[in-house]
């Protein structure tokens, strides 16, 4: 598969180490349809490729947004690009958030750090068909108040009456007047019906495991808990073997997994 050229509309700094690329296709203008939770492989000329979740609105056909941290060779190269530069895109790949399964149910969206990026696509989708879902709860954990991703958007959502947004940070200075602690702890008091809810969780693996535990303690069934996994990827189409996680390929069986499918291996060290 060959990367398609996409042109950068903007590179927007979100927090100290996170940025969002806004992209438009450079050939025929349409980025192509994707489902929330899927990812693209972004190619920087001569440097390499990196898998990044799509965090734009799946209904907006004109633009693709990718939010990522600059932590490796390719992402650091991406951060140095400017408006007008070209990147290559292959995709979309992978499984998506269970927005259909969640119809008629409460939606519990739990995000940790950069994990909010792939969940934002899901939120756009859910809010666009708001009447199809019961309560929608967003629980988000960031490192510090300065690291809160998409803050203006979160504040706007929080002011809506049909969406419950709770944000916690690991630590804060005295200007922060919200919870300080960890996001799994927010699950305990979140307002949703565990017997009729679908949970979508994304973040560092430790945060995933502890959040799932809290959801279980609230009485949620494994079959309605979905998490997004991350592994090394080279091809994104199930041939290079790098993204294997037990019997699954994260690039095609994931990245979104029903927890019941991977529960036996999620806690196993070095699997």
């Amino acid at each position: 598969m060959i990367p398609r050229p996409f042109r950068i509309q903007s590179v927007r700094k979100e927090t100290a180490d996170t940025f969002t690329l806004d992209l438009k296709s450079a050939d025929d203008g349409r980025p192509g349809a994707f489902a929330p939770g899927q990812f693209n492989m972004l190619y920087v000329f001569g440097v390499g490729e990196v898998p990044i979740s799509i965090s734009s609105d799946p209904r907006d056909g004109s633009t693709l947004k990718h939010t990522t941290r600059a932590v490796g060779t390719v992402t650091k190269a991406l951060e140095r690009l400017k408006k007008g530069d070209t990147v290559g895109i292959r995709g979309p790949f992978g499984s998506s958030w269970p927005v259909e399964e969640a119809r008629g149910r409460d939606c519990v969206i739990v995000a940790g750090g950069i994990g909010l990026a792939p969940l934002r696509s899901a939120l756009y989708f859910l809010l666009a068909s708001r009447e199809s879902y019961q309560k929608i709860v967003l629980l988000y954990g960031a490192r510090t108040p300065e690291d809160i991703l998409y803050r203006p958007e979160l504040e706007r959502w929080r002011s809506q009456f049909d969406l419950d947004v709770r944000v916690t940070v690991d630590r804060a200075g005295h200007e922060w007047r919200g919870p300080v602690g960890v996001v799994p702890a927010l699950v305990r008091r979140a307002g949703f019906d565990p017997a009729n809810a679908t949970a979508m969780v994304c973040g560092p693996e430790v945060m995933l495991r502890f959040t799932v535990r809290e959801l279980e303690n609230r009485g949620m069934d494994h079959r309605h808990i979905y998490i997004s996994m991350e592994r090394n990827m080279k091809c994104a189409i199930g041939f290079c073997g790098h993204c294997q996680f037990g019997p699954t390929f994260v690039c095609k069986d994931g990245p979104v997994f029903g927890y019941d499918r991977i529960a036996p291996i999620l806690g196993k060290a070095e699997v």
Binding site: D170, R171, R189
Partner: protein, 154 residues
């Protein structure tokens, strides 16, 4: 309206499953309290006379860090407990506590409760069992905070 303290105690999640007679035994140590938003509840080093079961609002545990200013370490929410320094010598608060929001709580006199626990060891065991659970949960949260999961890769 006079609120029945016994009922309030029994309803708080900390006392879930506790014997009625134990609850009646300790009600004398309890009282309803209110804090205004921003009000300092206790300071580092103060004698830990009371501890609090939160009913409404939010309390933050804070520390003044030289050169960094006031840091919020953890917040405590309704249904949770603030303070176990009254259980452990030298019976002084280790951190500052502030009502982040207007807060209503059940305050217990630590000395009073300790005395009752000495008198009735069954009661003491029930209280300690529950506090162990609270401390363990708080420790788990603290450990996760320590991991700095969202920080840059080590």
């Amino acid at each position: 309206m006079i609120e029945n303290l016994e009922r309030i105690i029994a309803e708080h999640s900390f006392f879930h499953g506790m014997d009625e007679r134990h609850i009646r035994f300790i009600v004398g140590c309890a009282k309803n309290v209110r804090f205004e938003e921003g009000q300092m509840i206790f300071r580092e080093g103060d004698p830990a006379v009371h501890f609090y079961f939160l009913r409404e609002g939010m309390v933050s545990l804070e520390l003044m860090v030289p050169n960094r200013g006031r840091a919020i370490l953890q917040t405590v929410a309704p249904g949770e407990v603030v303070g176990w320094s009254w259980l452990v010598a030298p019976y002084r608060w280790h951190f500052d506590g502030r009502a982040l929001l207007a807060t209503r709580a059940l305050a217990f006199d630590g000395k009073c409760l300790l005395a009752k626990c000495e008198e009735d060891h069954d009661l003491g065991y029930e209280i300690l069992k529950r506090f162990t659970s609270v401390v363990s949960e708080r420790l788990e949260v603290t450990r996760l905070q320590l991991l700095d999961l969202y920080g840059s890769a080590a």
